[in-house]
């Protein structure tokens, strides 16, 4: 994945590649929901559907050796950074073949070959990790950057401000990506967030921007700029991506009427869907035909089906493994 200079129009191939990744995430998550509803998946999962453009736009501006830290809603970040659906499904099912040998599950998938330092079930819990990875890059003299994904709810965690202060003081190559999907679980973020989100990083001297999280090209272009700054040693940045989750807070959150309206959900699904937004742009620009998009979609569908079959067939770890990996 390469970066472009600020403002450079995004090449059609890259756009198509991003369309494919977003489709892969969408289909993966729909499948996860199915696994839950058919009681094939232990526990719960937090679906990324609706937010695909954020993970894909950001990770498309990163190199494989750049790092990301992820959240409880992390499947999209993981796939966008290059993980295989098969080993991810296997992890969600608690199988030995999973990225974490079944020990982590949905909220702890890590894929360090692709630079994913792991999802995190503590809100704001990975802010320190990402910042430390950025310190590591600068101390070891590489030009890697670290990206910290978190939801707007993490703005309630004090440690986020502690590490933004460190990153700014030491000009660390870390980019904080705030995925504002409007809700902290079942509470609207305006009830939990005083003042202006962007004013918070700026108070620590951190470059801060906002972007339409449903427009993958915008997310990509803005991230590419911030990544360039960071690689050039110009320090940390903060990007708030305005987005929306179509489904519940987790797969079991079916009745949402007490905290948000059908109309609101419908509006985002119909007017702001990241796949539709990019798809129509590609077609309008005659970059691709409807056929191309269907082909890409079909490829993604096949990859998901293959991955799912692999995971369903894979064996569980042997119970004796419970005591392995406590210490390195």
């Amino acid at each position: 994945m390469t970066t472009t200079a600020p403002g450079t129009p995004i090449a059609a191939e890259l756009a198509l590649e991003m369309y494919g990744r977003m489709t892969l995430i969408r289909l993966f998550e729909e499948q996860v929901n199915e696994l839950y509803r058919s009681a094939k998946m232990p526990g719960l999962a937090h679906l990324y559907i609706g937010e695909e453009a954020v993970a894909v736009g950001v990770c498309s501006a990163l190199r494989r050796d750049d790092w990301i830290t992820s959240t409880h809603r992390g499947h999209g970040h993981c796939l966008a950074k290059g993980a295989e659906p098969g080993r991810m499904f296997a992890e969600l099912l608690g199988k030995e073949a999973g990225y974490c040998r079944g020990k982590g599950g949905s909220m702890h998938i890590a894929d360090h070959e692709n630079g994913n330092l792991g999802a995190n079930a503590i809100v704001g819990g990975s802010a320190g990790i990402a910042t430390g990875a950025a310190l590591s890059a600068s101390r070891r003299g590489t030009d890697q950057v670290a990206v910290c994904f978190f939801g707007e709810g993490a703005l309630g965690q004090g440690v986020v401000y502690e590490v933004m202060n460190l990153a700014s003081l030491w000009a660390l190559p870390v980019i904080y990506i705030c995925e504002n999907n409007l809700y902290n679980e079942y509470t609207h973020y305006l009830e939990t967030t005083a003042g202006e989100i962007l004013a918070r990083p700026r108070a620590f001297g951190i470059e801060a921007r906002a972007v339409d999280g449903q427009d993958v090209r915008a997310v990509y272009a803005t991230t590419a700029e911030l990544v360039e700054r960071a690689r050039a040693g110009e320090g940390p940045a903060f990007l708030v991506a305005n987005t929306y989750r179509y489904h519940g807070h987790h797969v079991g959150d079916i009745d949402r009427s007490y905290y948000r309206s059908e109309e609101e959900e419908q509006l985002w699904r119909e007017e702001r869907d990241p796949l539709i937004v990019l798809g129509s742009w590609l077609e309008d620009q005659n970059h691709v035909s409807a056929g191309d998009l269907m082909r890409v979609g079909q490829e993604a569908r096949t990859e998901i089906e293959r991955g799912l079959a692999f995971a369903l067939d894979a064996p569980f770890p042997d119970p004796s493994e419970v005591t392995e990996d406590v210490y390195a």
Partner: protein
């Protein structure tokens, strides 16, 4: 009624009888918490007394300490016990020490409700039972209810107590049903309860492990072994006498706790019995607790981590048959 309903009733009754009681926590109002334990409270008492907070565990606990020092009786809701990691300064350095450091002149009538317990397939950061940490802090009281009746009576007592109390509910208990007395009642802190009388072996169990111990006792009865199940109900204050007397009577004791084994609550309970019942013991006190591993997600692995009725019964047989 269920354990969850008992908690809800206790909170509703205390909110009604004392205007200084209020609840603050994440998604506690309309959502009634993810466990639905608080459903209906905001509708009756309003958003001024049931406050939805940002995701700021340290902040709301600190807020609770200050409100408690100045005339209120806050009930702070910490969704998962795993997040006690974020409030230890407010609990251990502030809430627990204020009364003592002020020479008895300030007090902190704060209740912190949180959860414990594994086997929900929630993985390592949503499955811990960290009661040993708070039990190690002088100035805090620690409550681990095991039945709906105890939960209601103990929570009402905790809220009325003039000290900071950490009240820990096992997530696996919420759906469990049990008899709850009609009308107003409370259960004192510091009084253990013998959940089942027996002669051959004492099983000291905490929180949801009481159910595990009772199931084991059933198995043992079939084998002609009579097990006494003792529930301390509160770790601090601890009712040493009841534990020790039971062990002196049976001569054999097992401690079952869902915290990790190493440096856990089971060590203190076992040490207390080994100290005070030493001359009556026919065998070493056995400890059964969570494996010393982070709780894994994969079901076949997670199921290895927590004591089961079979394990408890098997251990009891070994003890009794020698």
């Amino acid at each position: 009624m269920t354990f969850a309903q008992a908690i809800n009733e206790a909170l509703a009754e205390e909110l009604r009888r004392d205007a200084t009681v209020f609840i603050v926590g994440e998604d506690v109002a309309e959502a009634g918490t993810p466990f639905k334990v608080l459903s209906g409270l905001v509708e009756e008492f309003g958003p001024q007394r049931v406050l939805d907070s940002p995701i700021s565990e340290a902040g709301i606990t600190g807020l609770g300490v200050g409100a408690a020092m100045t005339g209120m009786r806050p009930v702070v809701d910490i969704m998962f016990g795993d997040f006690l990691t974020l409030v230890m300064d407010q609990l251990a350095n502030q809430a627990a020490k204020t009364h003592y450091m002020s020479g008895g002149r300030l007090k902190v009538p704060l209740t912190v409700r949180t959860t414990m317990g594994a086997t929900r397939r929630s993985a390592a950061q949503h499955s811990q039972s960290l009661h040993a940490w708070v039990a190690h802090v002088p100035g805090l009281k620690v409550v681990l209810p095991s039945t709906p009746a105890d939960a209601k009576g103990l929570l009402k007592t905790a809220i009325r107590d003039d000290n900071p109390v950490v009240f820990i509910e096992d997530k696996m208990d919420y759906a469990v049903k049990g008899e709850v007395p009609d009308g107003e009642y409370t259960v004192p802190l510091g009084v253990a309860d013998v959940k089942r009388a027996g002669e051959d072996v004492t099983i000291v169990a905490t929180s949801s492990m009481v159910r595990v111990a009772l199931a084991a006792a059933e198995q043992l009865e079939a084998d002609g072994i009579s097990a006494e199940v003792v529930d301390p109900r509160t770790l601090v204050p601890l009712d040493r006498d009841t534990l020790v007397r039971s062990a002196q009577k049976t001569g054999r004791a097992i401690v079952v706790d869902e915290g990790h084994r190493g440096y856990g609550a089971s060590a203190e309970l076992a040490a207390v019995i080994a100290e005070d019942a030493f001359w009556s013991l026919d065998a070493p006190v056995r400890r059964l607790a969570a494996l010393d591993v982070p709780i894994p997600f994969s079901p076949p692995l997670e199921d290895e981590t927590v004591p089961t009725p079979d394990l408890v019964a098997q251990t009891a047989r070994e003890l009794v048959r020698g």
